[in-house]
Amino acid sequence: MDPITGKIERLKAQISETEVELQQLKAQLARLEALLSLPSPSSEAQANDQPTESSRKWTWPLEEEEYTRYGRQLILPSVGIRGQLRLKSAAILVVGAGGLGCPAAAYLAGAGVGTLGVVDGDTVELSNLHRQIAHNTARVGIKKADSLIQYCRGLNPEVRYVGYGEHLTPQNAQDVVSAYDVVLDCTDHPTSRYLISDICVLLGKPLVSASALRTDGQLIVLNNPPATQGSADGGPCYRCVFPKPPPADSVVSCGEGGILGPVVGVMGVLQALESIKLLAAGTGKENYQGPGEPLTPSLLLFSAYSPTPFRSIKMRGRRSNCFACSASSMLTLKELKTGSLDYVQFCGVTTPINILQPGERVSATDYKSILASGINRGSLLLDVREKEHFDIAKIPGAINIPFSTFQTKSRSTSNGYSAHLEWLPEDVSSDTPIYVVCRVGNDSQLVAKKLKDLGLDRHGERFIGDIKGGMKAWKLEVNQTMPFT
């Protein structure tokens, strides 16, 4: 299907879906209007004692329909009518409309918060849908913030929704966040995590933070209670727990590391739960009295494949020299807005690897010609992606030696590397070229370099190099009919 036809199909699907939604809204409106014109049973009974006009008036604190909609949670001691009214008067901001934000926003909308804000500058992609359950196939290509709100509105139209189709930045953070009572960090990068924490400290908002990767998840409620900078009564902020960002190279995204849908889903649902607990108890409101006993901050660890999947860890309080929340902190709203804090620089950027000489790198197209010409008959192609990638699709004839095995120490030898050469066929001649391929062309350079350092190039007798751009380039230039993961 060419891109234009695909887009037309998507638009058609989107239109028909929106029409259904419109019908639902009309039906709902009709129901509500009908309710207004009908005398309620109670007003019949009371008609004799009271003037008709006022007796028809619904005088209870929630709307009539809301008693039905929220009835199942209303009767819980932890919510009750007070808690429901607090939820209804609360404004919650979900930053990130992805794997965490989708379930979190859905449950908050369902629970009847007053205002739900959604911040995300990205658009829906097909690879999101296995976990970002509020989006759908027809909405691929539209803004995630809009898509999530569309889903939530279908779930509960009583909530007021505010979409921000842009990323949170030091410049817009104050304007966006100040209108809310509680913030959920559902983003996927350290830069946004530090920024969200800082603005929450500056504006005094509790922050419900979660993250997930592969089959693990983490959850922590920060800046709770949200005392002013320097107050020891406040809960720790993200910088108290992680004063220094991890090296950029050690940060693995869901795109690189993979993620299991229900794992990130569990964490997003837990974020909604923690937010409901905070709001129903009255946090963030003027009448907030604080819990009976002092809060011990805790970090919840979830490991899907562990025999004990949930573990709660007692955490430290505020750090006395914290950059953001301590008495000595120089962090101000003004400083944040003027951009004197460079979050990208603070967290570091990964520099693309470029350690091979141009002559040691062949393009995917060139490698295809080399194969076809038969010049390098019997050359070796090492695919250093992890086994899962290799099992999905590979170049014919490639040998899979995952990158991680090249990082393994050998117990038997002093130099520690000879054990990795077991893959090298014994009958291979000393000038057989070795090509290395990986996913996008970084690891392949590292491995090619390592093989040279081990002397496998026999002082230039044997060619060792990599395929530039990896399997991604192979798909793009040579074989479009193969999956790329």
Partner: protein, 126 residues
């Protein structure tokens, strides 16, 4: 608790009389999560016997354990993913018996027999 203390004292005494063959050890459970397990043979839980004292005869601390893990348990050459500038790399939390190590004295915490030490790499995905 008393039993543990007694054992520790007793083994320390043994250390003075015997030589290296019979180095007294502490049994600890070390766990890795958040991706760190990949540096340790893809194994999340390790039951280890580590010496009770360091070279200078002082009781072993978490700092000692970190170095010990790098030298003896790690099967990956990318040491920098665990230690950076002689300290634990930023972005790794240490939890001693389910409490943040900052509540226990961080690197200076003296390891007790039976301790559970958990290393957690922070996740950022969402």
């Amino acid at each position: 608790m008393t039993e543990v203390m007694a054992t520790t004292t007793e083994t320390t005494v043994t250390d003075n009389t015997s030589k290296n063959d019979d180095t007294p050890t502490l049994s600890v459970i070390v766990e890795f999560t958040g991706g760190l397990e990949m540096l340790f043979s893809d194994q999340r839980r390790h039951v280890l016997s580590i010496p009770t004292t360091d070279k200078s005869g002082k009781p072993v601390t978490v700092a000692y354990l970190i170095e010990y893990l790098c030298e003896n348990t790690m099967r990956d050459t990318r040491k920098e993913l665990f230690i950076l500038d002689d300290h634990l790399r930023p972005g790794i939390l240490v939890l001693i018996n389910d409490a943040d190590w900052e509540l226990e004295g961080e690197e200076t915490y003296e390891i007790q027999n039976g301790d559970n030490i958990l290393f957690v790499s922070t996740l950022h995905g969402g």
